[in-house]
Symmetry: D2
Subunit: 151 residues, 4 copies
């Protein structure tokens, strides 16, 4: 089972060509990841960053844009975790509007200590929660080894 | 010869972990591309979008983040065009601070008509200017054919 | 009756001091106004701007910040229209979290033609809808004359 | 003598009406204040916030917009400090383009301790630097007492 959030394209997201200015998508994508951590993993970004002394920076992202979005479009963001490493996590987010694909994003996040910026293995409860999510996502594969892109 | 712009990391770019929130990088990357079009290609985004009825949306981007940036870091953004298609353009931007790599970004832009959103071949003067830039970049290859990811 | 929207403070809104970076509040305030136009006035920003050739720029805003907001705070934005001019509109938005005031904002919007940027009287249906909202807001006064700060 | 910075209006600042989306102005205004602290007061936001455990939040701002700005407009931001309180500072920023006024902004900043959020008197070197700036601004008045809107 994937995780879905919805967003309305607002005035603030659009550029002089009348379409979503792509850096605004990254705020939506980040918010979707934040919501997923909170709703499904039980570890909010606030708890991780402010209370916990850790962070979950993006190590890599690749986005392919297939069609523009316009003001008042209703967007669906569908998140699927795809691969869990010792301190890394790969996930995919697809954004569509009424069934039309808008973009496909692949992310690699890394769990790090704020003080050093160095990767730190996912704590056991977070790891267990991510594994459950990957199992629920069904079509995704769980790889225990490290990702080729490191972490 | 590559094209370089510089940016200071500001308070507005940083997150509660004290490092640049990565969606802010996309605004810097876009500004670098905008400056390159204006300074080197002689076609400003204003002229293309507002006067010209065209747009240059991003079709694909891939970014690898290698180290975090902090407030008051001085960033150098180095842009190199790498491949020109009929209506597409690949370019690479590397961001570093005092020689330390921060991120490496690959973009594919497409020249489209605003009214239809459909790809339109680069106009001859713009094509000629891009070809000159690719030749100046030296290490880049000029491919006349279309990109595998379309254009 | 006032109009209320809610927002969660996200990672993207917060600065290195761990509190909402105030320019981000303006995006929330604008989104609240946008939602009010859509939900209560029956005229979306999309219809006004894209279809209608008009715009509703902000002529003046004054914001007093009374307490900082932190990540994961639940904010309530309460909008009350206070004064309708020929082409202007005053409104007030109060933001609070669990009863604690965070900011108090006063806005003057102006209805203009996009082509000229000149003020244009509110169209009759929009004027009627705003008047109804002011009447519902109860404590607000409806002034038919122009605002001292113009319109 | 006032403090002036310049900015080019970019694609990222503009909305579907082709003019600067006003929340983007607040980022420019904040950057101008940040540059002034760094260049004229000798205390960077980084040093104050990250090293020093203090912050300089905005307690109040009032902005009057007189004309829209469009892509590629060259903006001049002119900052003048106007009033120094024990822990507060009033300043004015005027933005214009080629002599045409675009907006006039009045700010009240407060120097606070990050841990408590409580106002803390300006440290002596910062106070002395601000007083020098107010004296240089010439037309501004130095008031030793507290501002009516607090500090």
């Amino acid at each position: 089972m994937s995780f879905t959030t919805t967003r309305k394209v607002r005035f603030e997201h659009c550029d002089p060509a009348g379409i979503v200015f792509y850096p605004r998508y990254f705020e939506m994508l980040n918010a979707c990841i934040e919501d997923w951590f909170d709703a499904r993993l039980g570890h909010s970004f606030g708890a991780i960053h402010v209370g916990g002394g850790h962070a979950v920076p993006t190590a890599r992202c690749e986005v392919r844009f297939s069609a523009p979005s316009r003001i008042e479009d209703r967007l669906a963001l569908v998140l699927r975790p795809t691969r869990l490493g010792r301190s890394s996590l790969d996930l995919r987010i697809d954004i569509s509007s009424e069934g039309e694909a808008r973009l496909h994003a692949d992310f690699t996040l890394v769990h790090v200590a704020q003080a050093t910026g160095r990767p730190v293995g996912w704590p056991a409860p977070l790891r267990a929660a991510i594994e459950t999510e990957i199992a629920r996502a069904g079509d995704a594969s769980l790889t225990q080894g490290e990702a080729p892109h490191g972490s």
